[in-house]
Each structure stands twice: as C-alpha cells, then as structure tokens.
C-alpha cells in the first residue's frame, strides 16, 4: 500500500489501541471493558497485518492472524464467560475514582511520550514514531491493575500490558519472531485460563470476585 495510506492506517490502529486502554479505565461495566479489550486485540492484529503487508513478510501476517484469533476472540470470550457468571460484574468502587484515574492515565500518556523520545530518535521510521502509544498502553495497563479491585480488571490490566509490549515490539523491530510472539500469546492465554479458574473458584467460595476478599485466604 502507498505511503500516506500506510502511515495513516498505522497511526489510526495504534490510536485505537491506546483509546481502548483508556476505555478500560473509563467504563465501570466489566462487559464493556472486555469488549474494548477485544477491539484492542483486533487493532493489534491489524497493526501486525499492515506491517506485514508493507514489508511483504508472510510470517508477520501469520502472526497477525494468530494475534487476532487469540487476543481478539479466544481470550475475550473466556473473560466474557467469567463476567457473565458474575452477576455483580461492575467496578462499583475502584480504589481510585474514575475521573482521577482517567486524569492519571492522561499523565501517564504524557510520561510515556517524554520517556520514549530517545527510542523514537533511534528508529526514524513511520512505525517508530508510534512507539510512545504502545508504551502508554503498557503504563495504563499497569495503572489499571493498581487501581481496580475486581479479578477481571486485574486480568485485563495484564493483557493491556502484554498488548502494549507487543505493540512496541511490532513498531520498534518490524515484528518479533513468530515463536516469541506465539510464546508470549500462549503464555498470556495460560495465565488467563489459570485466572479464570481461580476466579471461578473465588466465585464458588466467596460469591464475589473482589480481590480484597483474597485477604481472607490468609487466615
């Protein structure tokens, strides 16, 4: 595809990924959060796809399809099941209230922008300039793991971190090797499955999916 179209679609997809990260902090209803996550997965796949087409790199295209499948379909479906099984599937009282955490996300975005400038200077490509967005996604993921109570939100935060890393990897080093990406995805998939089981058990034990309840496991 030609220059401007390539650039703008790439920027657009990276922007979508970042917005989805913000949406996970914005919305209280976990189902909406999971939807945002699915969209993010697809956008990530799209980024890989665009890069692959741009560089005529078949492996990268395969990776893109895998990413879309795992992060766009499988993981969200699993999480969706958990959410569906939990009637009180809302972040009713996050540790930091929503406006504050959104402002925090904005601050983190600026931080990411400032911190990645040296990296950007190293990679003078269209893709390289977008690295800050991936880094911001990563930071917002960490942040949402910190400020949210529900187990699902924790999983979502982890996935945001992973997506951020993946995006940075794609943009910085025109695509990671297939195996690495596969490994990462499977790794996360495993984590999700484990957490899903844990969540199910918590649900059966305490009837809530609130991490504060885990303290009770201690005694």
């Amino acid at each position: 595809m030609n220059g401007p179209a390539y650039a703008s679609t790439l920027e657009l997809m990276s922007g979508v990924i970042l917005v989805c990260a913000a949406v996970t902090l914005w919305r209280r209803s976990l189902s909406a959060v999971v939807k945002a996550l699915a969209i993010q997965g697809f956008a990530l796949g799209a980024v890989a796809l665009i890069l692959g087409i741009r560089q005529h790199d078949a492996v990268l295209i395969v990776v893109a399809c895998l990413v879309m499948a795992s992060k766009g379909v499988v993981i969200p479906t699993l999480l969706g099941r958990v959410v569906a099984s939990d009637p009180s599937s809302r972040e009713a009282t996050p540790i930091v209230n929503v406006p504050a955490s959104l402002v925090g996300a904005a601050a983190l975005t600026f931080l990411a922008y400032g911190a990645t400038q040296p990296v950007v200077a190293l990679i003078p490509t269209t893709a390289g300039r977008l690295v800050p967005l991936g880094f911001a996604t990563l930071l917002i993921g960490f942040f949402s793991m910190v400020v949210r109570r529900k187990a699902i939100s924790q999983i979502v935060g982890l996935l945001l971190v992973d997506n951020g890393i993946a995006l940075v990897a794609f943009l910085a080093t025109a695509g990671v090797p297939l195996l690495v990406e596969l490994g990462a995805s499977l790794d996360v998939l495993l984590a999700v499955v484990v957490l899903r089981v844990l969540a199910a058990q918590m649900w059966s034990k305490f009837g809530v999916l609130d991490l504060d309840q885990l303290r009770e496991l201690r005694d």
Partner: protein
Amino acid sequence: MTGFQNVVAAGLVAGAQIVTVSVGGLLLVGVMRKVRSHLEGRVGPPIHQPLLDVRKLFTKQRMHPEQASWVFGAGPVVLVATAVVVAVISPLATTRPPLGRSADFFAIVFVLLLGSVSLALGALDTGTPFGGMGSSRAMTIGALAEPALLVAILAMSIPAHTSNLPVLVRMGLAHPEMIASPARILALGSFVVIILAESGRLPIDNPSTHLELTMIHEAMVLEYAGPDLGLVTLGESMRLTLLLGLLVNLLVPWGVADRPGAVSIVIGLGALAGKVALAGIAIATFEVFTAKLRLFRVPELLAGGFVLAVLGAVTALVVR
C-alpha cells in the same frame, strides 16, 4: 469584484447561514422528536411542530418575576445573539464565511460561553430555588467540559498550525488523510461528549423531564414565558445545530463550498442540512436507548472526554 459587491455577497452568505441555522435548527429538533416517537411506537408531532410552537410563543404575553432586573430579560436575547454571530462567522456552508479570517475556534467557544453565562444569570435573577439549581448545575458541567473542549481544539490545531476554523475545514478537504489521523478523530470523539453535555442531551440531561429536581437546563428556563421562551427555544436549537454543524464539517467536510459562487453555496447548505440531520437522528436514536447519568457521574463522562482529547494531543505530537 468591487468592494461593494463583496460586502453584498458576504451579507447574502451570512443571511443564508443564519436562516439555515435558525429555521433548520427548529426543524432538527422536530426531526429528533419524530425519530424518538417512532422508536417509542408513536406517530409523534409533525417535523415542523417546533416552528409552530415558537411562532405561537412570540404572540403570547411576556412575564417577569417581580424582583427580576434587566438581566432576566437580557438572558434569552444574548443567547440568540451569540448563536447568530457564531452562525455568521463559522464555516457551515462555505469555507469562506464573512469574517472567516477571525473565525477562531477559541473565539467561537467563548462567544457561545457568553450565551450560556447570560442564560445562567437570567435563571439566577428569577429568585427561585429552581433557577439557582439549574444555573449551578449547568455552570458546573460547563466548567468541567471546558478543558476537554480546549485540549480537543489544541489537538486539532497542532497538525494544521492554526486554530482558525475555515482553515481546519479546508485542510480536511485538501488532505483527507488528516481527518483519518487519530489526533483529529480522538479530538472529535471528545467533541461529541462535549456537545452532549453543552446542549443538555441524554445521558447528561433529560430535555423532556417534568421533575424539577432532576432538571439541569430545563430548570433555568422554567420562569420564561411567551417571546422570551420562544427565544430560549430558538437559541438552544441554534446552538445544537451549530455544534453539530462544526462537528460534521470537521469530520466529513465534503460538500462544503470551497469557492465563491451561489451554486456551490446552495450545494453547501444542502450538504450541511443532510449531514446535520443524520447526526441529529443518530443522537436521537442513541438517546432512546440511554438512561440519564446521576449528576455526580457526569464528571466521569467529561473526564473521559478530556482523556480522549489529551490522547489526541499526544498522538498529534507523536506523528508531528
């Protein structure tokens, strides 16, 4: 063309835009009501019903509270006047509106703010609990919407190196990829949130509520009657139309007249009407399926809009 002809042409364009915004604004409200009632399984009032209402209101008696000062009467007048000014100088049908060179986005925002401030003062002048309640809530929401709005403008202005609206629209026409840029899209996303807040639509405010305690905007105008109320209705519909018009022209500028000439202006007006009507239908449909937010959840929504704008600004910086 001689200077005189220029002046005449500018006057004609201004008149065309004013008429379109004022009459079209009322029709837009009618369309939105029609869509609502259809989705609720009713026939609903005819589309021109708001026109009939306003015409009748102008023939009725004016009523002012005993203790009210001149500010009460000035409120609706200034509201409409600001809307008219914005209708003249903003690039709705053409990218060359009168005074277009000074049609700065920042200026337009503050002219509209003057309108809402004057209405809030009028509401406080009634000396009733409802007036104060309405203006307090409206001003609070307005204050919280302000940062999102200005940062959104900043995000749109960084790539264009100017905050001049006609230039922004023209750039959209010249470089379509600039519209697809995440900066512009994120900024417009937060702009949508702000439009819902500023024009008192769901989920921020329920325009058709009858319970005073749930009112935001309606509570400010409870005291106005006859022509004053007519002006308020007119002004509010004009503001909604202007905001939507700016939104659609920044999002899909195609159809806007980029060269002088009656034909292209007429086409521009038609395109504007079509685009704004579609936006209005979208909002009305959204409203049917949405519930009103609690007043103290509104800051969350606006903070979301703010974050969208900030992300837009950052992406604009990233890809600059």
